[in-house]
Amino acid sequence: MATAARKAPAKSRSDSKSSGLSAPKPADFTKDEELAAYRHMLLIRRFEEKAGQLYGMGFIGGFCHLYIGQEAVVTGMKMALVDGDQMITAYRDHGHMLAMELSPRGVMAELTGRRGGLSRGKGGSMHMFSKEKHFYGGHGIVGAQVSLGTGLAFANRYRGNNNVSLTYFGDGAANQGQVYESFNMASLWKLPVIYIIENNRYAMGTSVSRSSAETDFSHRGASFKIPGIQVDGMDVRAVKSAGDLATEWCRAGNGPLILEMQTYRYRGHSMSDPAKYRSKEEVQKMRSEHDPIEQVKARLLDKKWATEDELKTVDKEVRDIVADAAEFAQNDAEPDPSELWTDIVL
């Protein structure tokens, strides 16, 4: 099992000559912060496990991309946000929605294609949104969300509201052309956008080293004068401190910043991926040595901030939320047939 004081797999580096930025030390979490991180990450983990189960039972159709293993990335970043900051990502998005406090019932019922789903059953796993919670999707086209997220930042600058756009994409999307078109404009116009590259090492079945000429994604902004930092994306404290640095950087008017989150997905790319491109040992090693939830758990126990029983209580509360969401999502009605023709144009 994980030990609390694990060395980050990422080398801290100061790789931006222009900015002198380097990966900050992991944040010193208070007891409350550790407990909150534990609860939030556990909710994502249990939710995703349940989604996988419902997929297996035929309740969820089509594509379903689980976030298991990467929970620390959205959880730590959310802890660095203020109200009004936006989030946008691709199709591995359930964790982002839960982090932005979208209702577990609404997300799960969208996965099962029911009327109580966040998109009333018309979007599915890859397409959910909440203007109220500043969550802008949920996008199924790899890389498209990077230009869109840059546009959210454009709107922030246009309005002078001091909010920041958190634009997530994977190591795979990092090779799309429009990412660099967006980097160029964001830097040129000093847009408040944090490009969060979730490097989980595999673009579907193609490893980073087989798809990317430059595998250090924190360097990908170099041609556009965008500084970047590599972050241990399995350590929620490291993510939080990087998030603090990045949001301050953007709010100070310095323009965009890249955070490469070094993370790992335990499950296949989607539900139908047999994951033959990596060894079982590799997956098992990440799970047993770097699991983001186990790290927090170990710290909580180590510091005697919680007992096993208290953590079990948290686990039970989280399981109850997920069970309630699953129950709702299985029993809610399908959309009314009239919904076929609504929401096409206003």
């Binding site: 496990e49 996988g52 189960q53 997929y55 297996g56 039972m57 035929g58 309740f59 159709g61 089509g62 594509f63 936006q86 946008i88 294609g113 966040l118 998109s119 009333r120 018309k122 397409h127 959910m128 949104f129 909440s130 802008y136 999707g137 199924g140 086209i141 498209a144 230009s147 869109l148 997220g149 840059t150 546009g151 959210l152 454009f154 709107a155 922030n156 246009y158 052309g177 429009q178 660099y180 078109e181 967006s182 160029n184 404009m185 040129l188 499950r267 139908s272 047999p274 033959k276 079982k280 299985q330 399908e334 047939p337 009239s338 076929l340 023709w341 929401d343 096409i344 144009v345 206003l346």
Partner: protein, 461 residues
Amino acid sequence: MPIEILMPALSPTMEEGNVSKWLKNEGDKIVAGDVLAEIETDKATMEVEAVDEGTLAKIVVPAGTEGVKVNAVIAVLAVDGEDIDKAGEGVGEEPPEAEKAAPAPAAAKSEAAAPVAAAPRTEIAADPDIPAGTEMVSTTVREALRDAMAEEMRRDEDVFVMGEEVAEYQGAYKITQGLLQEFGDRRVVDTPITEHGFAGVGVGAAMAGLKPIVEFMTFNFAMQAIDQIINSAAKTLYMSGGQMGAPIVFRGPNGAAARVAAQHSQCYAAWYSHIPGLKVVMPYTAADAKGLLKAAIRDPNPVIFLENEILYGHSFDVPKLDDFVLPIGKARIHKPGKDVSIVSFGIGMTYAVKAEAELRGMGIDAEIIDLRTIRPLDFDTIIASVKKTNRLVVVEEGFPQNSVGDHIANQVSQRAFDFLDAPVITIAGKDVPMPYAANLEKLALPNVGEVVEAVKAVTYR
């Protein structure tokens, strides 16, 4: 309660699979994430991971079993100190029918039982009345477009324009002339040459509630951006269940200009009009250009606004009104007539108008309908005209296959077949990439003679 482990669906199309191998034995302790078994699906061999913790009490379906239905119980897990012998009891025998499978969504149960309801009709208001005595000002299409943007930018702080050369250069075709001076560089934004990227930035800004006008130097370059236009701008309202859309205008010259050859000479009216979630406007006159661009900027949906470089310099009367806004989705009867209906749009109207003058000399009274909007298409006006004239010719510059005219001909044959006295003739550009040579280019485009001949054919003259 012991937990039943079910045969999982491991792909969107899987209905049954084979249990190839068990990797755990009865009595083994299981933690979440442990690989329990290997299942062969219609696509691949997949590992089944445990979701819950406990002890594997019973393997119900042994390794090597083929054709195991999705949701059949394949094993039983005892949890929290349950007796593993008891946990396995009674499982594996035929379960009561009701418990066999979870209720699947309707689509999985049966083919659609009921007929699909037709799309609801949306009524579109007529053009506003122009008060008697309103001064008419001769205006170029270029000026009308600029005036429309300037008026809307004065009216609404959320409106801004972005694109290549729109600010300091004053517009590649001078459509944005003077806007930078009046509104400043916050609202008139020069972009790098990066259509895919700035279209996406525009859509993102629209999702955040701004009202961008994205100018493409020509719509040929919007091919680089078409994913953002269709997948992001057009579909988000639907995919979000109505929560979030993109109030954005994509505008710029479309279709052939003069001697710019294949890559710069293509009409996108049919392309964009294919897409639910978009509105597609293609004006001919300056008044329509102004009134419809103002409407497009106010519209809460993504609007494709197709202009034409040759028409930019044409002058038309524009009513001098404080706020002249026209309805999107309404065709305009350019010239009433009784013998034949000629339907066209954009620069196609120039052929229709010249042909009508020739036809008048032959004693044929043609009605000309300017569609103005391609999506939603105003079939009511077309069909009312066909019911009167019983003859229809459609004129456009785009390619012939799956053209706007083809769609109109199809709909008219379905909705007004009995009123037709002749087959509908569609005139389009020739089915070739646009050539450069002056003589070949002329051959590739429609011409007035073709329209006259078509009208003579449908009127049996």
